[in-house]
Amino acid sequence: MSETMDPRAKATEALLASGAADAGRGGLGALKEAAAARFRSMGAPMARDEYWRYLGPAFNQPKEGAEPADAASATAPSPFAAAEPLVAAFLNGRFAPEHSSDLAAEGVEIAPLGAGAAPGWAAEALGALEAEGQSPAPRPLAALNGALATDGIALRATGAVARPIEIRHLGETGGAVHLRHVIALAPGASMTVLESGVGAAGFSSVMEAEIGAGASLSHVRLQTDPRFQRAATHLFARLGAESQFKSFTLSGATAGEVARNEAMLWLEGDDASAHLAGAVLAREDGKIDNTVFVTHGALRGESRQVFKNVLNDTAQGVFQGKILVREGAQQTDGYQISQSVLLSERAAFNAKPELEIYADDVKCSHGSTTGALDEAALFYLRSRGVAPSIARRLLIEAFLAEAVEEIADAALADIAREESRKLVAALVA
């Protein structure tokens, strides 16, 4: 029968069969049927699909024989340790209490999803935003995640959560991991969620967040674990009136690594504000794709996308960013910038900015630039005695600063800056 299947259907079934053996999925079990049906209905992404043209079907061809990570680095300390977060760790796709903090903190309810039944609010929320986010453009890997997820965390903030909560992804095997996280902020609540590690050769995570009126969610992610082969992440967030969402991701990729980060945001209450930022550093044939979709559906919404890419060797960067302003979403202020610095003539950056506006009183702008490091600035630095590698490093750090500065918390911004410096050093070495 398989000989008669078309390539998409074949890839679809192969991906569905790639999940871990079904050894109990707790509160996530309920997702499986509907998500698998959704995934089958749209099928695995193919190179001719509108939002997969640049990246191609890398996720349908997982690298054979991905090497297991060594156990020591699998549980290495988190770069976020200095921020003293409350840690919820997942090892090989399973909640790992031995690597986690005591999951109790003022103002927040925390529950792993893989072992028992999900809390009522989480059971209701799981899959809702992802299903909604499947149109107008399909996000097949998010549906696949729903079909295969083995564990995840549910976080519900009811007040101001003082300590950041870190979701740490650890891995010591070469296999695939699918994690599903669900977040809710009650009206007026505030919380910072950190993510670190990739944790598997084939990694997938979906985070669905409902941000209540006047609530504020900050998200800082370090996608710098050097041991992954494929990482597909999705972030879905719905913003209520006067709420705020700020997200920053630092991504690094080297030989054989491909990361696709999708974000889908809805500003559904009036006066909401959403900021998404990313710093991308890729070398060898690493590929990093940021695909963002922001929908303004209410009055006076403000959104901002700042993505900076530094690419060396034959690395590829992709930015696909859309701002959709619905009818009636007057006085929307939407901004989007994607920029890249190519350190090699063989590196490539593809940007696809899109604006779709159905309201008549809005301010929306987008821009994209690609170029080499400024030769005049490099010479100026060198003429003062600065060695070429340091001169390049200084200019790259300056280029990334606008994205890193989107992190409001100074201590977290310092951590992200420090981690980005390590990637920059590897890039200019």
Binding site: D374, E375, A376, A377, F379, Y380, L381, R382, S383, R384, G385, V386, A387, P388, I390, A391, L394, L395, E397, A398, F399, A401, E402
Partner: protein, 253 residues
């Protein structure tokens, strides 16, 4: 200190365009020489070639600096060896603070010379003191290199870098351009404060006015890629009163 012999260069991208056609110049330690000349005579190119900027191909001649072959060195190696070019158009570097820039420069040069790094405290003290002499505020030190600086501020910032880096040879490329009289006095005072028996200056300028404030020992007139006349400080005054045309027609005769 610096000996330029029969220096020829052309543009890399346009080999037909020969800019320097046999420059000879010798600068002793502690000496201040001015190079004057009409636009297009090759004055600025001379400073670029000496500092190692890309885009020029030396086709003949030699330059020795403190006993070494300058043309074989990378731009950062030239700086570490003690050469400093004050740019005609200082470059803006958004996102790199003036302080970071200066500290990297000082410590890169020290590292290249095998000297220990300057401590943060020592560096701050030195830079603040030199900045104060040039009327450069702490706020300007924190700002991105030259970003949003006025023409005069950029030139003062060049002199600040020179003062902190303490080079052996200072090339000043049209440092007076874009300066009003007060700014020029400030810049000249900064330069004069650095004059000493071990430090030489090559002051490139179109006009004589800067030389009222930075008094040269020797004045060279450059035209069409060569030094065509060399004399004392009074040669600059002659340029001022007679213009280049008379001097050039006389030297051609």
């Amino acid at each position: 200190m610096l000996e330029i012999k029969n220096l020829h260069c052309r543009l890399e991208e346009d080999p037909e365009t020969v800019i320097l056609k046999g420059v000879d110049l010798k600068l002793e330690p502690g000496a201040v020489h001015a190079v004057m000349g009409p636009n297009g005579s090759g004055k600025s190119t001379l400073s670029y070639v000496l500092s190692g900027r890309d885009g020029y191909e030396v086709t003949d001649g030699s330059v020795s600096f403190a006993g070494e072959d300058l043309l074989e060195m990378e731009p950062d190696e030239r700086a570490a060896a003690g050469l400093f070019l004050a740019f005609q158009y200082p470059v803006e570097i958004p996102g790199v603070s003036n302080m970071t820039f200066l500290r990297e420069a000082v410590n890169s040069q020290r590292k290249a010379r095998g000297e220990p790094e300057m401590s943060a405290g020592e560096f701050l003290k030195l830079t603040r003191a030199k900045a104060a002499e040039l009327d450069i505020s702490n706020e300007m030190l924190k700002r991105s290199v030259n970003v949003g600086f006025s023409g005069g501020e950029k030139k003062r910032n060049e002199i600040l870098q020179m003062a902190v880096l303490e080079p052996k040879l200072c090339l000043l490329d049209e440092t007076d351009s874009g300066l009003d009289v007060d700014a020029m006095k400030l810049v000249a005072a900064g330069v004069n404060a650095l004059r000493g028996p071990d430090r030489s200056f090559l002051v490139i300028t179109h006009y004589q006015r800067l030389l009222d404030h930075i008094k040269p020992d020797i004045v060279h007139i450059m035209a069409d890629g060569k030094i065509v006349e060399t004399g004392g400080p009074d040669l600059a005054l002659k340029v001022e009163s007679e213009g280049y045309a008379d001097i050039l027609s006389r030297s051609a005769a």
